[in-house]
Amino acid sequence: MKLYCLSGHPTLPCNVLKFKSTTIMLDCGLDMTSTLNFLPLPLVQSPRLSNLPGWSLKDGNAFLDKTELIDLSTVDVILISNYHCMMALPYITEHTGFTGTVYATEPTVQIGRLLMEELVNFIERVPKAQSASLWKNKDIQRLLPSPLKDAVEVSTWRRCYTMQEVNSALSKIQLVGYSQKIELFGAVQVTPLSSGYALGSSNWIIQSHYEKVSYVSGSSLLTTHPQPMDQASLKNSDVLVLTGLTQIPTANPDGMVGEFCSNLALTVRNGGNVLVPCYPSGVIYDLLECLYQYIDSAGLSNIPFYFISPVANSSLEFSQIFAEWLCHNKQTKVYLPEPPFPHAELIQTNKLKHYPSLHGDFSSDFRQPCVVFTGHPSLRFGDVVHFMELWGKSSLNTVIFTEPDFSYLEALAPYQPLAMKCIYCPIDTRLNFIQVSKLLKEVQPLHVVCPEQYTQPPPAQSHRMDLMIDCQPPAMSYRRAEVLALPFKRRYEKIEIMPELADSLVPMEIKPGISLATVSAVLHTKDNKHVLQPPPRPTQPTGGKKRKRASDDIPDCKVLKPLLSGSIPVEQFVQALEKHGFSDIKVEDTAKGHIVLLQEAETLIQIEEDSTHIICDNDEMLRVRLRDLVLKFLQKF
């Protein structure tokens, strides 16, 4: 069993598990941090950005963090754990010869589609006049300023995919529900479990009859909108692959939401605008819910909230229809019937308005001071670029970063000097290390496998021993482009016996409660299922012709040697030898058993747990005598 690690990003994992002749890809996250090396793509021609010295607008943003560690066309299935971890799907399904199936839950697919659609839209609506790729040449790249100069494997950076590729990729997905058991080639069974992180987010169990691997990715134990995490089903795993923990382990989401609300209120009260760069789905639902409760108490009822994204409308509406994937509280609302999320009410009362882009209706409705939620959190493309340009000059305005995926300082770099206030309240509801240690205590896997980042404190806080996984035995860590042999061997395989064969067995009780029977049968293996079938009727006896042993097609039904069981008590054996006239017997203890030395006869009897050897000097008579003596101590059947 091997794990191929294709991503170095612990929250955007991409691993391939080879298990019982299946090749399973676990997630295909897209690491987009390389976009931070590019200039923002403005919706409106920005004289400031185009006049920055040195570098003209570069070609499309491209990003793919894969290596040629494994031939991706051999991947049988891809299991998706949440919509953030499927953003690289088109690259894999469309360009690698992949012919397998992708499994994901319905909300994951729908919201994943929205995220991809938004990404494509953001990039495509700002077509570039020129495109350059020569700089990717290693010799030229070396001449570039830092950090481009130091960027690794620039050649693997790709252009953004197209909507067509997205549609084609998504068509390969097969929808699954929580706890649904999916057979893969009869060899393994995979099951998605609720992971509590996002709508439709799942952990996966990959199991055969005797082995169980749990894949935990992006899980949350906090009470937010999704269905709570299913922990019980993760118990008794042989291996637990743990990825997607919180990226900001020192920030408590509750505290951050408080910080978010306070800063928002303070800015708006002073007449400033608030810009929240965010994804169109996920934490935004929770933020809107908090604001719904908060705005009245903070006297912000008259402040408009704008949500601008090409998929804003779909995102808000989708969230309301996935009732079965929501937490219990929200599910019960559906039966009242009420919309599960309060943002419906915000929209109804005109407190929250959504627009596909800042062109069109938005420009006529726009009223300040206001709060704007828009993408992309990297500040490199999307409507957010325009708002940064628009509001950056006033210290009354505030930009509040809530998504933890990008360094906010790097994101802000092209906008400097910036007068607007910047608040960093990353809200990451995924598991923190305390929760992980509780989880591991609860589910008690035999082995834990995780990215190497989780096995040591963060580099910036090397003293924080609490910010790492602490379990026994220590977790096995992996890094990008590593192949990990998972630390357990398959020992058993389930084999079925055909009823008629089972009928013919005659078990013999050798110990109370334990019976044995010899079986002669044909092992039939098809689709990873093994069946013992009755042997074909023996053809006419062939008259004592000696058979070849190794290549027997039909088992030997005639010459049935008895099977032996039991152990040889050395002292009694020696007494028996003496009775039979052997003298001068010496017994030596060895690591595995005993050696009985018949000095006179120059013979050795080597007794071990599962074998006995008689070593004598070409005296077949003696050997047979001794063999019969040995056999007296063993049971035959």
Binding site: N252, V257, D466
Partner: protein, 898 residues
């Protein structure tokens, strides 16, 4: 008290009994019990039975006759006496279970007051049904354990008086209740309540020497020994206390007179108990050792007679032996015992080895166990200096470890590290998070208790303590950088630990009483700011951080000459003020609330100082505070009201001339507060408004001083209609302030009150009272007088009494008012008292008021109000009726009861 005659009868007691009860039937005669049983059933209490003729010692035959003739009994109300037989029969009837044992407890309380006030013997004789009940419970039957327990306790209570004890003894009732033949051997004994009743009965009974003989005769002491290990903690604890009581009782006579008496000469009973304790102390089983130690602790804690010295002298070597075991058994109880010995004036002054034992114990116990002992030692008034130093070192060890783990400046360590015990402490701190957190919290709490005591160790290591506390807080927030493995572990345990944060912030606040080196104080402010700023601080932690901050600011030295904050604190304040608005905007109401409380405190303390005022006015705080008057959470609104009251008093309220309100025509705060008072749906904000108004009136606030009468009239009018009694009570407080100001009496009850310039006292009473009449203060006060909430009525009564006294000081009966007017007011008041408060009094002339005041029986009213409102419901008669009613034994069924 008769001379000591160990293990003999007490002839004095018997003599007393025989002389006092010559008419009692002879003990043990079957006729007696028959009589008692007959009495239980049929003889109504008014009929003078033969037994009734027994007179109380000292009471003449006339008294007995008088009672017999139906005159109210001195012992019990006739009504209760009448109900008692029915009650006894209900209790004795297993078919009528008493559902509620609180009423049995109340009955016992009642019997206790009766027996304490008078003769139990007489009570028994007047109410033979009681005796009947006690006899009845002895019969083999299915009686509830509650009733059995009740009877045992009642019997003990009655037998507490020696004459009654003898009386009961004559019928062999006590041995049958408390001896082997009683419940002790029966099935009922399995009920803990019965065992508890047995112990409590004996505890009440053991008051006199005869009781001791009884205990010895019936072998009760051995049973008590075994009950010490009872499965019910209540029973076990009561058994221990009973032993202490018996020991004390048995030694009261003999050893008191002879302090030199050795234990060998003690009464048998005492010797038996002492031997039992010795045996337990030698035992290998920890529970037994614990029992023995607890008995000793209670003994030395309650009794300081010379014999305790003898006892300790004999047992201390055994106690010392416990210390040699590893681990020390029953460490907590041992600590309690040693501290109890050390606190006992008799023992601490005489025992030579006590201090050595304490020192030895300190070094033997684990840090967790030694902490309470160390604190106890440091709290002692008299104690050798060496021991105190050792105890203090033990107490400080965990903090030393913290400092070591983070490698603080060596200077800090030296003064804390007194012993080599630190490594042991590290072993305790590090294995588990729970142990680490527990030990640190306890240590901080102990030190917090110690800090304000006069006998706290001197020199007090203020600087290292500050350093350690700051370090703990920084470990908790994750900002400390540990330098060792131990430090790394500590950090991992403490990060985000709210319990430790709270304890450390509390202690840090306490430490503000002392001074510290400048750089440490800087660190204190830095860590406080870190907590106040951090989004991760939990609301409770934040509250503590605010409290600690206020205390530190309060203790920071004032700049000489200008009484402003020192520059240091000022700098801090400049950093703090931007944080405060964010807290006031928090979505968590607890945070907004504690932010406002802090603000109110700050303004109260520094509102008058220029630097603070400038900083505050430059911030958004005043504006935000005003917005919080409309917060959805009532607690926050209340705090905002208090804060705005302060801001306004100090002239710090901002009234911006906004473009929407040209000319700054903003609603005045007074109007806004009045609006809250009359419309807010919750009580807290309204109460807060009343407090602010009262304070404004006291201080002569500008908004109020303009037209005080109008203000008071308006406030009283709104307050009188409030549903919350505290608002009405506070209205009376405001009325009182106005009254004092009007009548020219210098306000004395509030030392902070600024008395406004008092005009020359009005010359005539009528003139003086006129403003009070104009604001309709009397209408408000009279209404309050008949308020359905007692505190309001009491307060009003006090106010009117005060006013009457004031009017008297004006001399002579001025203007008695027209009689018809007075009569109509009095009639209205009577209607009010009857509950009809609809009709207002209208304007009253001062003369009428004076006349009404003088005619009212205010003292009588005050007396009536002083009695608790449930006095009727709490009467024994009502209790008896309740018990009977619950089983339906009242009314027509009564005849069937027998």
């Amino acid at each position: 008290m008769p001379p000591a005659r160990p293990d003999t009868e007490y002839p004095g007691g018997r003599g007393h009994a025989s002389s006092g009860h010559s008419l009692a039937p002879s003990a043990g005669s079957p006729a007696f019990w028959r009589d008692a049983r007959r009495a239980l059933g049929r003889v109504p209490p008014s009929v003078p039975a033969k037994i009734r003729q027994v007179a109380r010692p000292g009471a003449g035959p006339e008294a007995a006759e008088g009672r017999g003739a139906g005159i109210s009994s001195l012992i019990m109300d006739p009504e209760c006496s009448q109900l008692l037989p029915a009650l006894c029969s209900v209790l004795a009837d297993p078919r009528q279970p008493v559902a509620d044992d609180t009423c049995l407890e109340k009955l016992l309380d009642w019997f206790k007051t009766i027996t304490e006030a008078g003769s139990s013997l007489l009570l028994l004789q007047e109410n033979p049904c009681l005796l009947g009940l006690l006899c009845h419970v002895l019969k083999p039957q299915d009686l509830s354990p509650r009733v059995l327990s009740f009877s045992l306790r009642l019997a003990g209570m009655l037998a507490a008086q020696e004459d009654c004890f003898q009386y009961l003894q004559q019928g062999e009732l006590l041995p049958r209740l408390f001896g082997e033949a009683g419940p002790l051997g029966g099935a009922a004994w399995t009920a803990p309540s019965v065992r508890s009743g047995w112990i409590q009965g004996l505890r009440s009974l053991a008051r006199h020497p005869s009781a001791l003989c009884f205990l010895a005769d019936c072998g009760a002491v051995d049973t008590i020994f075994s009950l010490q290990g009872d499965s019910s903690l209540f029973v076990a604890s009561a058994a221990g206390q009973l032993l202490v009581h018996i020991l004390g009782l048995s030694l009261q006579g003999p050893a008191e007179g002879h302090p030199g008496l050795q234990t060998g000469d003690w009464p048998v009973c005492a010797q038996k108990i002492v031997s039992h304790i010795e045996e337990s102390l030698r035992s290998a089983a920890t529970p037994q050792i614990t029992q023995a130690l607890n008995v000793l602790t209670t003994t030395f804690g309650h009794c300081h007679d010379p014999w305790t010295q003898v006892l300790w002298g004999r047992l201390s070597p055994l106690v010392a032996c416990l210390l040699e075991k590893d681990p020390v058994p029953a460490a907590h109880s041992l600590v309690d015992l040693l501290l109890s010995v050390a606190r006992s004036p008799v023992l601490s002054s005489s025992s030579s080895g006590l201090w050595e034992t304490l020192a030895q114990t300190l070094s033997h116990l684990s840090p967790t166990q030694a902490g309470p002992l160390a604190l106890g030692i440091l709290k002692l008034q008299e104690c050798p200096q060496v021991l105190r130093a050792q105890a203090f070192a033990v107490l400080l060890q965990p903090l030393t470890c913290v400092l070591e783990a983070t490698a603080q400046a060596p200077g800090l360590l030296d003064s804390l590290d007194g012993t080599g015990g630190a490594s042991v402490t590290v072993d305790t701190l590090l294995p588990s998070k729970a142990a680490c957190v527990g030990l640190l919290c306890r240590t901080l709490a102990h030190l917090e208790l110690l800090q304000p005591l006069p006998q706290r160790p001197s020199p007090w290591p203020q600087a290292p303590l500050l350093g350690a506390t700051v370090t703990i807080l920084r470990l908790c927030s994750g900002s400390a950088t540990p330098t060792s493995d131990a430090g790394g572990h500590l950090c991992a345990f403490l990060v985000g630990c709210v319990r430790v944060q709270r304890a450390a912030l509390d202690f840090l606040g306490t430490l503000s009483q002392g001074t510290g080196p400048r750089e440490l104080v800087t660190q204190v402010f830095a860590v406080l700011l870190e907590y106040l700023t951090s989004p991760d601080s939990s609301p409770t932690v934040l509250k503590k951080a605010f409290q600690a901050t206020f205390r530190w600011l309060q203790s920071s030295p004032e700049t000489p000459g200008c009484s402003d904050l020192d520059p240091h604190a000022h700098l801090f304040l400049r950093e703090l003020l931007p944080v405060l608005p964010k807290r006031l905007c928090s979505p968590c109401w607890e945070v907004r609330d504690s932010g406002l409380e802090f603000l109110t405190q700050m303004i109260g303390r520094w509102g008058g100082q220029a630097g603070f005022r400038r900083a505050l006015l430059a911030s958004e705080v005043p504006e935000l505070t005003e917005q919080l008057l409309r917060d959805p959470e009532s607690y926050v609104r209340a705090s905002a009201v208090a804060a705005m009251g302060q801001l306004s008093s100090q002239g710090l309220r901002v009234t911006p001339a906004s473009p929407e309100h040209p000319g700054g025509q903003q609603k005045s705060l007074l109007a806004e507060l009045l609006h809250i008072l009359s419309t807010d749906s919750e009580g807290f904000p309204r109460r807060a408004v009343m407090h602010v108004f009262t304070q404004w009136l006291r201080d002569g606030h500008a908004d109020v001083a303009g037209d005080t009468e109008r203000f008071v009239a308006r406030v009283l009018q709104v307050a009188s209609q409030d549903l919350d009694w505290e608002v009405r009570a506070q209205g009376l407080e405001l009325a009182l302030v106005f009254l004092e100001q009007t009548l020219g009496r210098p306000s004395s009850h509030c030392p902070y009150a600024v008395t406004p310039p008092v005009a020359a006292p009005p010359s005539s009473l009528a003139q003086a009272l006129r403003p009070l009449c104009r604001v309709q203060l009397f209408e408000f006060a009279f209404r309050a007088l008949f308020d359905c909430d007692r505190p309001v009525a009491q307060k009003s009564c006090d106010l009117l009494l005060f006013l009457r006294a004031q009017t008297a000081s004006y001399g002579g009966p001025q203007g008695s008012g027209s009689v018809p007017e007075v009569a109509s007011v009095e009639a209205a008041l009577q209607r009010w008292q009857a509950g009809d408060q609809g009709q207002p009094l209208g304007y009253l002339e001062p003369e009428v008021v004076v006349a009404v005041l003088r005619s009212m029986d205010l003292e009588g009213l005050r007396g009536a109000l002083a009695e608790s409102s449930d006095r009727v419901e709490k009467s024994p008669q009502s209790l008896l009726q309740d018990v009977l009613a619950t089983v339906g034994a009242l009314g027509e069924d009564e005849a069937d009861c027998y």
